[in-house]
Assembly symmetry: C2
DNA sequence: GTGTTTTTGAGGTACGTTCCTCATTTTGCA
DNA sequence: TGCAAAATGAGGAACGTACCTCAAAAACAC
């Protein structure tokens, strides 16, 4: 049998109350006694029964996940993955509320965040661009003892407790090496598309991509990034125009969203499957395009993993417990048609069902 | 507050005892009453508090992971990942014992397995080649109520409860498409190495690989598999010999173990970094070789994930609970130098430390 | 050595569930 | 209608921990 607090009390020759004081770092115990108890703990190999502890504390966790109200498939999939992880976590006294904010309104976001501490939350996961207003809001939350984790895109200067997502520079490098090798090193031109050149993620991806192409594939010519601002129409226009003027284009690197519009345009131009197309995020549509051969490779992150990780990290932070860093590291995944994961990851399934 | 069993009793107008009977599927409740209780459950959105339930049951789980006593880095890493997951799971009343069997002795394995039910285990995870003796042993375990999950390599005909690992055919296809694209479709020859042509995994990988090469890259010429039987010396010999006779070799697909010997040989022949080398399993050595550019790509599975998944599945099976299939699916990961995960995945770290 | 403060002990209640037992009510059947 | 069987209720103990109170003991200061 596993040792319990009673066993420790007996072993250390003290009372249960004293063991309890030591275990929970309550004051009023002599250093000597603390030592004795700790020795007993070590000797018996005691591990606190977390289930029983939480039960006794009758502690429960109410977390908030705050996402932009964008309708992009990526955010939708993420929301579903989070909701899913939340409902699974209900068995362990964790509740997750999904909150949305107007994508282009940092002040509305700040107001939303400011209201959270009053509503009984014990942690916040946040996906938002880092603005000065946001930085202050995050600091405010942390000042009130609410842990804040940044989701998908980091908030390094806001002093978040943790970042859950991938290193976008490395993701860009990965795209770069795939593009370079798939094109045999050149010669040829590569079109680069991004939603906005101001977004940190886009900048980092582009930097990583160029880094690799310049160093390892000098025969390739990467064109300046084209901004699509999340608009399908705009994407359509710039891509059509550019492809008409640049007959040497052999590859397209789509750093941002709009994969749907992209594959559509390529189809209309009769270029489906004739170019090497690399994009990010395995949304339901990207998956389809991959299956049909319209997209060559997708650089992605596992949203189910990301969602579960979010809950674990929030919980650990709320309890001031250490993390299992290895488990929380989100990997940069490369998906080709051949290693497309089966369509049974809960988040993805629901996303498709909802689409 | 979350509803409890008492709330359900009140809502359904029955006693706590009856609710308990329904919840735990105990006999002696009319169908009508069962319905009423279930309605109350649905109405209040009750979710059983697993922590409290397990506490009350004072249930604990003792699991066995049975691995061959091979010293390959892969098995070592797997063992460490399992040990690690086991120690993390100690907080949730799960204990994992690592057992080893002589790699080439199916009968010793069968004896080992037969002894398990008597030793208080409530589940077994097993990595072993499927032999007739093993099939019977597995059936014996299951007949005694012990769930059995196959690890890494499947035991489809032994009636295992679950398989935790990747689809090797798809892994081979993935290797194939990478090889094909990296070589620009040809012309050129590809050397294929495997530990043994009898092992199911090798056969499936080879089949997947050929499937893609034949269909999509007819310009490439894949040579017959060379067997290395886990021996570095043998690998060295056959590779040297083959490369001397076949100057057109531009790629090597290493399906089995022996990556260490392979990179060494290539180094000695002055071919490091000059060939496209694709292998399996991100062992510490493969990681190093990847960093140095001696290996181009590694097809792998996340051992930390695999280990945690094993424990979750064993536990779910022991309790006859459903699985979160999405969470348990092990993905086929493609690792290049550019998306090499940081060296903080517990299993990998320990593996390196131990190496 | 007295008085004060600090440390320790003893004991209880609570958390939400499981799993008993025994008594009582309801149901089905002859 | 009566009787056995089935269904339900009432209550309690247990799981391992947290957290509370009050009393007793020990350590400390002067």
């Amino acid at each position: 049998m596993r040792p319990t607090v009673n066993d420790i009390a007996r072993e250390a020759g003290v009372s249960l109350a004293t063991v309890d004081r030591v275990l929970n770092a309550r004051p009023g115990v002599r250093a000597k006694t603390v030592m004795a108890v700790n020795e007993a703990i070590a000797k018996l190999g005691y591990v606190r029964d977390l289930a029983a502890a939480n039960l006794a504390r009758s502690r429960s966790y109410r977390m908030a996940a705050v996402l932009p109200d964008t309708e992009s498939q990526f955010v939708q999939s993420l929301a579903l993955a989070l909701a899913d992880a939340g409902s699974m976590a209900a068995t362990s006294r964790v509740e997750l509320d999904l909150l949305r904010f107007p994508a282009e309104d940092p002040h509305a976001l700040a107001t939303l965040l400011a209201a959270l501490p009053g509503r009984g939350y014990s942690g916040v996961a946040l996906m938002a661009p880092e603005t000065p207003v946001l930085r202050d809001a995050v600091r405010g939350l942390r000042a009130k003892g609410l842990p804040v984790v940044a989701l998908v895109s980091d908030l390094p200067n806001a002093g978040r407790d943790h970042f859950i997502g991938v290193d976008n520079r490395a993701a860009g490098r990965t795209a770069g090496v795939l593009m370079g090798r798939f094109l045999g090193g050149g010669p040829g031109q590569v079109l680069v598309l991004g939603s906005s050149l101001l977004a940190r993620d886009m900048v980092e991806r582009r930097r990583g991509f160029d880094e690799v192409i310049l160093r390892d594939f000098p025969g390739l010519d990467t064109l300046p990034s084209l901004e699509t601002h999340g608009s399908g129409a705009l994407l359509r226009q710039v891509v059509t125009e550019r492809l008409a003027n640049a007959p040497g284009v052999r590859g397209i690197y789509a750093m941002g969203d709009g994969n749907r519009a992209l594959t559509q345009v390529l189809g209309e131009l009769g270029l489906s499957g004739r170019l090497t197309v690399i994009c990010h995020e395995l949304t339901p549509h990207a998956r389809q395009a991959l299956e049909r051969g319209e997209i060559t490779a997708v650089i992605t992150q596992n949203l189910g993993h990301l969602a579960r990780s979010t809950l674990r990290v929030l919980r650990a932070k709320a309890d001031h417990l250490p993390l299992d860093e290895g488990q929380e590291q989100i990997r940069i995944e490369i998906v080709l048609r051949e290693n497309l994961p089966l369509l049974s990851d809960s988040g993805q399934v629901s996303a498709v069902a909802a689409a």
